[in-house]
């Protein structure tokens, strides 16, 4: 009994606590990183008063958000207004339940601990299902605010998130075909046994898939250049205009957690998850997949965290770089890109991948 309890309750709860704590820490420093990178790209210095070079700036911001008045305007639908930030943060967090952060394993007593919370055979389907729930939070926030800017922002945002859901799903289909499984751990293992990441799969590298996935991911997370729902010079702050204090903080948190999620998924689906970067040199694989051989499985897990973190960081850097580089899309351009370019490209990509698999098999 106690072993079952340890295995199915205590270990998962500990893992969940670690994941949520790590996410909060990552978001705090991602915000700072964003401000710093934007600043340096615009030849400014960015925040540097709070802590050494501004290292505590976001911590101060969090404290500020905690102590701010939480205004609930008179005209709002109070229940839906309260639930909207909950509905938006829930899928953002729960999506991390199936992400494999690293390989390797270590034992606590008789229970083996892996670097993922759960490995279900419909992992990718679960991810698509739960992340698409985020749109409900946006619609609820926009509608319940009973105010013009949130209403318009919520409508725009819902249409945008829904439109880019389709190319997002299509770009993932080819990965499923290559891996033959929807389990995210299985997808990384398939890349391991293929000896190369799906990005460089022969004869048809998944570069188009990566492009479709990443751009749709940026549009799904409402980040620049697709941040129309909160285009501040037209809609003030879009669907969360009427929110303040902790409720606003959760919209903010969800946006950044979703960015991290897209980074994790790009790493898992296209860049081989926790697999080391070997530049195709087979001899490098062994030493690079475990920096701490004397620690066995735990060492392999730590090394996997390093490689996974590196890949996620690069994707997030690209996000911030895009924000500093591109102007915002116009709404009709955004819809045209989604419906007239990405959907045909996605369908074509699926069919070409299917053909390539047959050709390869001969």
């Amino acid at each position: 009994m106690s072993e079952t309890l340890l295995r199915f309750v205590v270990v998962p709860v500990a893992q969940i606590a670690v994941v949520i704590a790590a996410l909060l820490l990552i978001v705090v420093y991602l915000v700072l990183l964003e401000r710093k990178i934007n600043a340096f790209m615009q030849v400014r210095l960015g925040p540097r008063r709070v802590g050494w070079h501004g290292l505590l700036q976001t911590v101060a911001d969090v404290i500020k958000l905690f102590t701010k008045e939480d205004i609930t305007p008179r005209h709002v639908d109070r229940l839906v207004f309260l639930l909207a930030p909950v509905v938006i943060i829930l899928p953002a967090l729960a999506a991390f339940a199936v992400i494999p952060f690293s390989g390797g394993s270590f034992r606590v007593g008789s229970v083996g601990v892996r670097a993922w919370i759960s490995d279900v055979n419909v992992g990718l389907l679960y991810l698509l299902a739960i992340t698409s729930l985020g749109v409900f939070g946006v619609v609820m926030a926009g509608w319940s605010s009973n105010s013009k800017y949130p209403m318009l922002g919520g409508l725009r945002s819902a249409a945008q998130m829904v439109s880019y859901e389709v190319p997002l799903g299509l770009s993932v289909v080819s990965i499923l075909m290559l891996a033959g499984t929807a389990s995210l751990v299985g997808i990384v293992q398939a890349q391991e046994s293929a000896g190369r990441w799906f990005l460089f799969w022969t004869p048809y590298p998944q570069i188009l898939g990566l492009f479709l996935y990443f751009v749709s991911g940026v549009a799904e997370t409402n980040r620049l250049p697709f941040d129309l729902p909160e285009a501040e010079n037209e809609l003030v702050a879009g669907f969360h205009t009427e929110y303040s204090g902790m409720k606003f903080a959760f919209f903010f948190l969800a946006e950044y957690i979703n960015m991290v999620l897209v980074g994790c998924l790009v790493a898992v689906l296209f860049f081989g998850g926790w697999l080391p970067v070997t530049f195709g040199i087979p001899g490098l694989r062994e030493p690079l997949s475990n920096f701490f051989p004397f620690w066995g499985g735990a060492g392999a897990m730590l090394t996997g965290f390093f490689w996974f973190g590196l890949k996620v960081f690069l994707v997030l850097f690209l996000y911030l770089w895009m924000r500093a580089t591109y102007p915002r899309y116009r709404y009709d351009q955004l819809m045209r890109l989604g419906w007239k370019v990405f959907i045909p490209l996605g369908l074509g990509h699926v069919m070409v991948t299917a053909l390539a698999i047959l050709v390869r098999r001969g």
């Binding site: 205004i71 909950v86 829930l90 009427e242």
Partner: protein, 119 residues
Amino acid sequence: MTSVGYLPILIFILIALAFPFIAFFLAWFIRPNRPEAVKLERYECGIESSGEVWGRYSVQYYVIAVLFLIFDVETVFLFPWAVRYDALGLFGLIEMGIFILILVVAYAYAWKKGALEWA
């Protein structure tokens, strides 16, 4: 045995659900609460609110919703096919080719009718 894998996911969802409420509760202790008539008004850049809020909006949003339904269901159909593609082989390719072809006809029709146009 396999369904046990969903238990940690359920626990995660419950924790993720509790997390914002705990934060709201903690903030409720610290934050000030001084409501005022003007503060509780709708935000409209400082001027007084006028006109309907839940008024009319572009019909295009409905069109997008319907199109999304069609295409998303189609993507869901692609998923199990993709996972078993290795076993299906050429048969699977032809089968799915016909399915996508039918969809492309509908897509071309929607395009021609201007349903994808944002006016």
